[in-house]
Amino acid sequence: MSSLTEMREGLHVSVSQIKCYLRCPRQYRFRYVLGAEPEFIPANLVLGSAVHEGLAAYYRSVMATGDSPEQDVCKAAFYGTLVGFRKNKLPIKDGEGIEAQGEALLKVFYETVYQDPPHVVGVEVPFTIELPDPTTGEILEEALVGALDLVVREEEKHVVGEHKTAAKKWSQDQIQHDIQLSAYKLVARKLGLGEVGLRLQVLTKTRKPKMIVEDMDRTDRDEREFLETVVGVLRAIDAQVFFPIRNGMCGGCSFQRRCSST
């Protein structure tokens, strides 16, 4: 199987790219079209990535041994990722306390899962799939590329898991409409995993961190809407529609100076 890096060599689109465009088309332009250098790395990104690696390390170990490893396995992966970010020439904005926050999140995660490790069949499973335009049936030039955070086997079916760190618990609307999960349902079928279940594992960065696990499903309509969104975004990019969206997230945007001077 090709690595994610190799898959990204071809013309592709990712769920992150689509989400970035939907958050702010101008930020998309800076990041992807112009390839502009960010002004800093947001602490949220660092924390999320490092915790993500901690969880992946746990599940890799479970996949290899069938049993939960010591919590240190998660911490080592977390700190390894963090060190990588700290070595980067870009500063981490508001990066104080990432270590403590990360450890707290990993602790909650570990305490939730270690007694009953799942039957893991895949961790960070890379994928590249063709996407059809839902209106014309035409295969898009861009392949959808990404990685499934986790694939576990439960009874007669596979369940695809997605890890998130969030400031607070996700609302039902967020859970219901998150395009990533619609994409994963589509991807899993194309990868031959059949009709999978979907599981969202959200670690909340609240004063008392929590791990919230939500099982859900997606319908054909959700999948079609995901495809419509992808096609709409790609066509908007073709047409160079890159308007700014100013809101409470601007402070965390790593292109804010460039944006202000545009």
């Binding site: 060599e9 013309l11 112009l34 390839g35 209106t135 295969i139 861009e142 392949a143 319908t219």
Partner: protein, 228 residues
């Protein structure tokens, strides 16, 4: 029809315009977006052609459309169709308008084929019409007439972004010429102001031509690709 017009119509579509999708029987079908057929008609007949919708009806779960294409005194009829797309409950029709657009585009393309456009795409098609609706039209058709130059409803413009084949072609050429990938990307950015992946088709063609022209033929060639 004038010889030069025939030449224009029969000119095969550029490879980069040809797309693929899966047919009913799992076979891969080649096709070209309807807008490129329209462009070719405009080029061949200097915009002096007309298109008439002569039949549109729904038979079971299929939409059947017949069109009449008139140009240079010739009339060609095309029959096209598509299945109605339904939701997961197998009842809800998701977008009949979109399905009708597809059927009309299919019919227009088939009329164009009889004018000589896109024949290469149909070369391997069986006489029984595999890949298209084979049901005969009903006896009492619902007639709908559109005016001259009436096109299938709102075909979207062709995509601007470079194709996957172009991107791969550029990367392959740069690699074969031993160009440093980072330096090459920087050069593209300097020339066009955007990342390689966001070039449009024309810009990508320029880059490919630049790389081809720069290819060392006798060992003395430059290894600095011209990006523009």
């Amino acid at each position: 029809m004038k010889k030069e017009v025939i030449q224009i119509l029969k000119r095969p579509f550029a490879q980069e315009l040809i797309k693929h999708r899966e047919g009913h029987d799992g076979k891969q079908l080649d096709y070209v977006a309807v807008q490129h057929y329209v462009d070719r008609l405009n080029e061949g007949f200097d915009h002096d052609w007309s298109f008439e919708l002569t039949r549109r009806e729904i038979i079971g779960d299929q939409i059947l459309v017949e069109v009449k294409l008139t140009a240079a005194g010739l009339i060609k009829t095309g029959l096209g169709g598509t299945a109605i797309t339904r939701g997961e409950d197998n009842k809800t029709v998701l977008s009949l308008a979109d399905d009708i657009k597809m059927a009309e585009a299919d019919a227009l393309k088939r009329a164009c084929r009889l004018m000589g456009i896109g024949g290469e795409l149909y070369a391997s098609e069986q006489d029984d019409g595999s890949g298209v609706i084979s049901s005969p039209p009903p006896r009492v058709p619902t007639q709908h007439r559109a005016g001259p130059h009436s096109l299938p409803p709102s075909p979207l413009p062709p995509r601007e972004r470079l194709t996957s084949a172009q991107l791969n072609g550029i990367k392959d050429r740069a690699k074969k010429q031993g160009l440093d990938p980072t330096g090459f990307r920087k050069q593209i950015k300097t020339t066009y102001g955007i990342e390689l992946e966001y070039l449009n088709k024309k810009q990508a063609s320029e880059v490919i031509t630049g790389l081809d022209n720069n290819r060392p033929s006798n060992g003395n060639g430059s290894h600095h690709a011209s990006a523009g």
